[in-house]
Amino acid sequence: MAIFRRSFLTLVSLLVLLILVFFLSRLTGDPSYLFLPVNATPEARAAFAQANGFDQPLVTQFITYVQNMLTGDFGTSLRQQRPAIDIALEAFPITLKLAGVTLAIAIAGALVMGSLAAWKPRGLVDRTVGLTSLAGASAPDFWVAITLVLIFSVSLGILPTSGMGGIAYWILPVIVLGLRPFGLLVQVVRGAMIAALSSPYVKTARAKGASETRVIFVHALRNSMLPVITVAGDIAASLMNGAVIVETIFGWPGIGGVMINAILQRDFAVIQATILVTAIAILILNIVVDLLYGVLDPRVRAA
């Protein structure tokens, strides 16, 4: 029952989001400046507005948009003159792949390193992991990206500079994209684990003869997962919105770049379509995270 209610409410938020995006994005300025040459005359601008329906009242435009959407027409890109939804759907899988791989690696790495750090706080592992992960997490991403390209591609010549392809092409983007998630997650895991490792049930596990690995990863970790999955969920959501820096520097045509360009270009149909796609992903993600709370902690499920 709860899940139906939740899904219904999520649909409501999606609708609210679409309304907000529709109206608010139209507040950011007249696209004719971007689509017509600088010397275009006011008449040309009027014609442009008319051709694209911008001369109609906003509410009328919105009704048309919703009507068209019901027939599967999500609008046409002003810039590319083709269905906006096609553009969004072309780009999204790429983002999804990149985000998925990055997040999987970052989460796995953070769980291991964060747990080890928490096992002996202020110990050697804690210090090294803490310093390196934080250095990575707080360095400006484009700076890291370009420096890595200069080192690994130009100076050493062992990795391709950019583009999509085999494993070698994934290494740099995943590193750059994963640094901040990894750094943040390591810290969150560490913090939650410090608390969990001093819980009485950890003693029970040790008394049962569980190996220290098992104590850490099966007993304590499970109980520290609430903040971890929350933060991971947030990171995942922001990755769904695209990793603009990585996408543009490494030439991965993901949805982040598409969205940013559409926003900067006032290509409303594309803004709406990309947000629709990413929002659905993010909303599903949030539902999954909420369900995970219950799976991970039965006391929460009882609520």
Binding site: S138, Q187, G191, V231, D234, V300, A302
Partner: protein
């Protein structure tokens, strides 16, 4: 019974001072946290005093020293080199610290406070209020930050306050969702029930039982967020929503230096390093705080502790 020497009567000691003393002692004992604290104090000094002292050095264009490498010969000004307009990087770091810290700190604190408050409410009220908060969060999460920025720019005009607003809004969901998740769990613990049974109000429970347990996690996220916010701010400045020149932040310094990465690494490196060290210090302190407040780790800072 334990064998304690009770020669000093504990009751004579005032309760309050003991806590702060203990914290201070614990700070002195953790070398890393101590260094971090010193660095932050230095930073605050540079943001307050230094920024006013060096303001003129930071803006003087000197094309002769354009992208000058770090050097000892040119006096203190070019110790860290010159930027792309030949301005002293050192002076700019000091002067930039004021705006950087001001903006980042206010944005992080705003989002943390707002996020935590709403998260607490959402965690404690499972009914319609909680639903509304969570669904609004969904909307914020799905709303691209850049669009938020543009909209605010359009509707409210560029200003530091609006910049902080934009940066804060986009960061609220992490805090909100984290706090809510923790509240969902902690509020089921017996000691919360115990407090309720003694007549604790919702506010009391939050203040004395929930927040102390959640705060370390929040601070951890906030300290890492600090860097993210500075970098995001620099990204917005090209839209005109960021800080407008001649004011600048470390983030903006890194961003302009980006073009010179191959020729003059120091132009981006030092501001980047400053961001990194600040974040690092904050995180070290929040890590330390977590240990000090964790009942099972506190012994580390006791007299006989390691």
């Amino acid at each position: 019974m334990s064998q304690i020497d009770h020669s000093s009567t504990p009751l004579a000691r005032p309760a309050k001072g003991r806590g702060t003393m203990r914290i201070l002692r614990a700070l002195v004992q953790d070398r890393a946290a101590m260094i971090a604290a010193c660095f932050l104090v230095l930073l605050i000094l540079s943001a307050t005093l230094g920024a006013s002292l060096l303001a003129s050095h930071a803006s003087g264009v000197n094309m002769a020293m354009r992208n000058a490498p770090p050097q000892l010969s040119g006096g203190w000004a070019y110790l860290l080199g010159g930027d792309n307009l030949g301005r002293s990087l050192l002076a700019r770091l000091v002067v930039g610290s004021r705006t950087t810290l001001g903006i980042a700190a206010s944005a992080v604190i705003c989002s943390m406070v707002i996020g935590a408050t709403l998260g607490l409410i959402a965690g404690l009220r499972s009914g319609i209020v909680g639903d509304v908060i969570m669904r609004v969060t969904d909307v914020i999460m799905s709303f691209p930050a850049l669009l938020t920025a543009l909209i605010v720019l359009y509707l409210l005009g560029p200003s530091v306050a609006n910049l902080v607003l934009v940066l804060a809004i986009t960061r609220i969901p992490v805090y909100l969702r984290t706090v809510r998740a923790e509240v969902l769990e902690i509020r089921r613990r017996p000691f919360v029930n115990a407090a309720r049974s003694m007549g604790a109000s919702e506010f009391w429970v939050v203040r004395h039982h929930l927040l102390p347990l959640i705060l370390p996690t929040l601070l951890t996220i906030a300290s890492v967020d600090f860097a993210a916010v500075i970098i995001a701010e620099s990204g917005l400045s090209f839209l005109g929503l960021g800080i407008q020149p001649p004011t600048f932040t470390w983030g903006a310094m890194v961003a302009t230096g980006r073009a010179y990465l191959t020729q003059a690494w120091w132009v981006t490196f030092f501001p980047g390093l400053a961001i990194m060290l600040t974040t690092l210090s904050l995180t070290l302190l929040s890590n330390w705080l977590r240990l000090v407040t964790d009942p099972n780790q506190r012994w580390r800072f006791a007299k006989g502790g390691k």
